[in-house]
């Protein structure tokens, strides 16, 4: 009899069963050859794939706390917390604490409801989902104005009428958002998160400045500032690119 790796039971919206990466399946099969205490220890020490750690945590939970299993749970929660570092780095300390607590509460809920398939498919995606969920909830809850320092353009010469609209690409609503996001990252590497959110609401979702302001819990005027900043940065990038090109063709 082959080693029976417990299949994932969840399905995508299209009804496609959730599956693990073949390399993850192979590692789980190998790990099941060993006594479980050894598997727990290696997973807790970070010597196995994080997806394998989640498999062991879900499928091999004892009926009572044991040091070996508890180490596995702590390793899982530690990895989740570490996964959120970059995603929360722009938040205030108070907001970061709120988000971390929300993530911990949510992941315990998901454990209780056995909703961890995503972590066996891609731990990174699972952790990102938790943090996106929590940060979005934090923003809806806060309902405070976006900090003004983020919005006031430093270059008053740059008015919307004078600059080339370098963001026309972002107004094509049929374009995958991932593509628009990648282009933004490439073109405008130094946009703040608030500026990107303004681009999302105003350019991608086609909202007016005032409507975007309602979603972002600031005024329409603040959204205009943010977008002006975005245009200015985009124009700067475009100018740099043109300058770079001219320099390259110099004799």
């Amino acid at each position: 009899m082959e080693v029976a790796v417990t299949p994932l039971l969840g399905k995508s919206k299209e009804g496609k069963p959730h599956t693990r990466h073949p390399a993850v399946e192979a590692e789980i099969e190998a790990v099941l050859e060993w006594p479980l205490s050894k598997a727990f220890a290696l997973a807790a020490e970070g010597r196995l794939k994080p997806q394998t750690l989640v498999y062991l945590m879900r499928n091999c939970r004892p009926n009572r706390p044991t040091p070996e299993y508890d180490a596995l749970v702590v390793a899982f929660l530690s990895r989740i917390e570490r996964s959120g570092d970059q995603m929360t780095k722009g938040l205030s300390e108070r907001d970061r604490e709120w988000v971390d607590e929300r993530v911990q509460g949510k992941v315990l809920e998901w454990i209780a409801e056995d909703r961890l398939d995503i972590f066996e498919m891609s731990f990174k995606t699972g952790a990102e989902r938790l943090y996106l969920n929590a940060i979005a909830a934090m923003r809806l809850r806060r309902r405070t104005e976006v900090s003004r320092e983020d919005m006031v353009p430093t270059d008053s010469e740059a008015t919307g009428e004078e600059i080339v609209d370098a963001l026309t690409f972002a107004q094509n609503r049929a374009m995958p958002l991932a593509e628009a996001k990648a282009m933004l990252s490439q073109l405008l590497e130094k946009l703040t998160e608030n500026e990107r959110r303004a681009v999302f609401y105003a350019y991608e979702m086609g909202m007016t400045d005032d409507e975007a302001g309602v979603e972002m819990h600031c005024t329409g005027r603040n959204v205009r500032y943010l977008l002006q900043n975005v245009r200015r940065k985009a124009l700067g990038e475009a100018k740099s690119a043109r300058t770079g090109a001219r320099e390259r063709v110099k004799p």
Binding site: T6, P35, V74, S78, A137, R173
Partner: protein, 198 residues
């Protein structure tokens, strides 16, 4: 709109779908369609999509295995963990007819002596190979988690669990010792002992 408009699991399901679609290349028009299909959680969907759009995501890839940190407040978190997970109460062997036990043992490449020791909690559960647990689950129709939970339950190890000096393995034997003392064929013994550092 508020989260109270829908139960938390329903909202989590919707946001999970939105996340999948965004990762798979959904356009703004598609997000608009989803919002229109779930007007009660419009704000939550838009806020989630906006964060996804604004975020660079996590910088911890799955192939980086060590994280070099311990989560803050882990003792309290462990307490909360054990409060929220319900202990399995199923005995996967209970419904098995007596005449089915030999077939179960054969299917799992063990003998009746080892099976009896397992069910009675006489084998130290920490030494049982994961694949045997998976096979027993398959043969009994139980979930792997329930089999493991039963084999490692206080019920199966009661005498040791309540020992005055704390939980001990007492008279338990390791799985490797049980295999060596069994009447299993040489092939089966080698099969089990190869991976057990025996």
């Amino acid at each position: 709109m508020s989260e109270n408009s829908l139960s938390t699991p329903e909202l989590d399901d919707i946001l999970a779908d939105v996340h999948e679609e965004l990762e798979a290349g959904a356009s703004a028009d598609r997000i608009d369609q989803i919002v229109k299909a779930h007007p009660r959680v419009r704000d939550e969907i838009l806020a989630f999509a906006a964060e996804w759009f604004a975020s660079d995501g996590s910088d911890l890839p799955d192939d980086e295995r060590e994280v070099g940190r311990t989560v803050a407040g882990h003792n309290e978190l462990l307490e909360r963990f054990w409060q929220c997970v319900a202990p399995a109460s199923e005995n996967p062997f209970e419904a098995l007819p007596t005449e089915g036990l030999q077939a179960l043992a054969d299917r799992c490449r063990i003998d009746m002596t080892i099976l009896r020791q397992l069910v009675r909690g006489l084998i130290d559960e920490a030494t049982i190979p994961g694949k045997l647990v998976a096979w027993i689950a398959e043969a009994t129709g139980a979930r792997v988690a329930d089999v493991w939970s039963y084999l490692s339950s206080p019920m199966a190890a009661a005498a040791d669990y309540f020992a005055p000096g704390g939980r001990r393995t007492g008279n338990k034997v390791s799985f490797a010792e049980a295999v060596r003392a069994s009447n299993l064929s040489a092939d089966d013994q080698v099969f089990w002992l190869t991976h057990l550092d025996a």
